[in-house]
């Protein structure tokens, strides 16, 4: 019974993820910021990961002083300037 419940939960979770992925894919395909409108998105403070090694050092400190870690992010931000 537990196995059945867990597998139906997994199926529901996968369906939700798939629906979200499809919705996101459709939605993002409709969103267009033209290159000439990306002046502010290209500012260093708007680019994810632009902190470089200083952010890496901070993650290292916090991972050693707190019980959790992960999802520390990726570079980029949609400016098309990397």
């Amino acid at each position: 019974m537990l196995v059945l419940r867990s597998s139906s939960k997994t199926r529901a979770g996968l369906s939700l993820l798939l629906s979200l992925a499809l919705a996101c894919g459709t939605l993002t395909g409709c969103v267009t910021v033209r290159p000439e409108d990306k002046e502010f998105l290209a500012e260093p403070s708007m680019i994810y990961g632009s902190e470089g090694a200083t952010a890496g050092h901070e993650d290292h400190v916090l991972a050693n002083r707190e019980g959790s870690a992960g999802a520390s992010g990726a570079a980029g931000g949609g400016c098309g300037c990397n």
Binding site: T28, V31, F40, S45, V61, A74, G76, G78, C79
Partner: protein
């Protein structure tokens, strides 16, 4: 071994630099980042100095190589036997000093075209009682006129921890703690190397929604399998003390949402992020951060921020195992208790102005300097050394960085 690793990394780095200097189509970047962490309060203190140097160079239009070296120079004092009965009113009076240096070298290769890149790398770390090596692979693509960025990465780590050689049939409650790193990774000593296997996956989706607003969603999971206790730390169990004993498998899951919004009239960016975390040791945490990055003069930016973090305790954590045992596992790690962190900080970044020829100091394309300072305060409501509260609950972190582009 350490020197050889450092030598290989340095050779790689110098090769990258010489190629970047001589090649007509190559750009080279050299950077250094140096951090000082100082945790203070009472007899327990911890200092970590982390100097680092990195270099990367474009080899034509499609290839980039990078190499770097970093060290962790650690000194301080810690409690060897947590909750040990003491005649002194302050149970922390028996703190023992520690000192070690960790060396880490890395090398990465990136292949890229107009919108897609593939990055592969290797990281090696060594210290007296710990060795690690990891391979990582990252794939990234930009879609929909570069408004959407998808990135997936995988890392595989193989670590070794020094431990005392316990008799095979000895119960964990009789395990002695490792007294020192002497004899670690030396054949014929009474030390053994315990393995830790790590697998990390991460997926990130960055999206520009308008000319002023973007988001990033990050999902990650990590599976750690192996020896995860601190071999030096013992816990008082009632009749005797034993080396702490953590479960061997830990699966960690995290999801973060980051938002950036450009405030046009102020010429500044509002940055917000929230992260949820859960693992199979039953630690759950939430992190929230709010920052504001303001351009205050040509090339000069100031960022101020506040960060709040809270977590629950691990399922097997107890503040007193002699009165409240939690089954077969026991820990003296304060980071596995319920805790909160508040961080306040500021960061100053300066892009040095170029001369009329577009150069800095006559030979650089650009140079950026960064100075950063953070104050952290930790709250541990459910962790005590005997009856004494944790004294070292405050820390400051200072970072200085320099990046030069040739």
């Amino acid at each position: 071994m350490q020197l050889r690793t450092f030598g290989i990394a340095l050779t790689f780095l110098l090769t990258a630099l010489s190629v970047s200097g001589g090649g007509a189509r190559a750009d080279g970047v050299v950077s250094t980042t140096n951090t000082i962490f100082e945790e203070y309060g009472g007899p327990l203190h911890m200092s970590v100095i982390t100097p680092g140097v990195d270099a990367r160079a474009d080899m034509g239009d499609h290839v980039n190589i990078a190499a770097g070296y970093e060290a962790d120079i650690v000194s301080g004092a810690s409690v060897a036997i947590v909750d040990a009965p003491s005649s002194a009113p302050d149970a922390i009076s028996g703190a023992t000093s520690l000192r070690d240096t960790r060396h880490v070298a890395h090398a990465h290769l990136t292949l890229r075209d107009e919108t897609t890149s593939l990055r592969a790398g290797y990281v090696y770390g060594t210290e007296h009682d710990y060795r690690s090596q990891a391979f990582d692979l990252t794939a990234r693509t930009e879609l929909y006129e570069r408004n959407t960025i998808l990135e997936v990465s995988y890392a595989r780590g193989f670590d070794s921890v020094c431990d005392i050689s316990h008799p095979r049939d000895q119960d964990v409650v009789e395990h002695r703690r490792l007294p020192s790193s002497e004899g670690c990774f030396v054949d014929g000593s009474d030390r053994v190397a315990r393995d830790v296997s790590l697998q990390s996956f991460q997926g990130a989706w960055s999206q520009a929604w308008t000319s002023l607003f973007s988001t990033q969603l990050v999902l990650s999971t990590q599976i750690i399998d192996g020896f995860q206790s601190n071999p030096y730390r013992a816990v008082w169990l009632g009749r005797s003390a034993a080396q702490e004993n953590h479960p061997e498998v830990r699966a960690r899951y995290a999801a973060a949402l980051n938002l950036r919004f450009w405030i046009k009239p102020l010429r500044g960016a509002l940055q917000a992020s929230v992260r949820g975390y859960r693992d199979t040791w039953d630690i759950r945490s939430v992190t929230a951060e709010l920052a504001y990055d303001q351009s205050i003069a040509a090339g000069l930016r100031l960022r101020v921020r506040g960060r709040w973090y809270t977590q629950t305790a691990a399922a097997f954590f107890s503040d007193d195992y002699s009165r409240m045992p939690r089954g077969q596992y026991f820990t003296g790690d304060r980071e596995l208790s319920a805790m909160r962190t508040l961080t306040l900080g500021a960061r100053l970044a300066w892009s040095v102005p170029t001369n009329d020829e577009g150069e800095v100091l006559g030979f650089l394309d650009s140079m950026d300097l960064v100075a950063k300072g953070d104050y952290l305060t930790f709250t541990f409501d459910g962790f005590h050394y005997g009856s004494a509260a944790i004294p070292n609950r405050h820390a400051i972190v200072g970072t200085f960085g320099l990046e030069a582009v040739f």
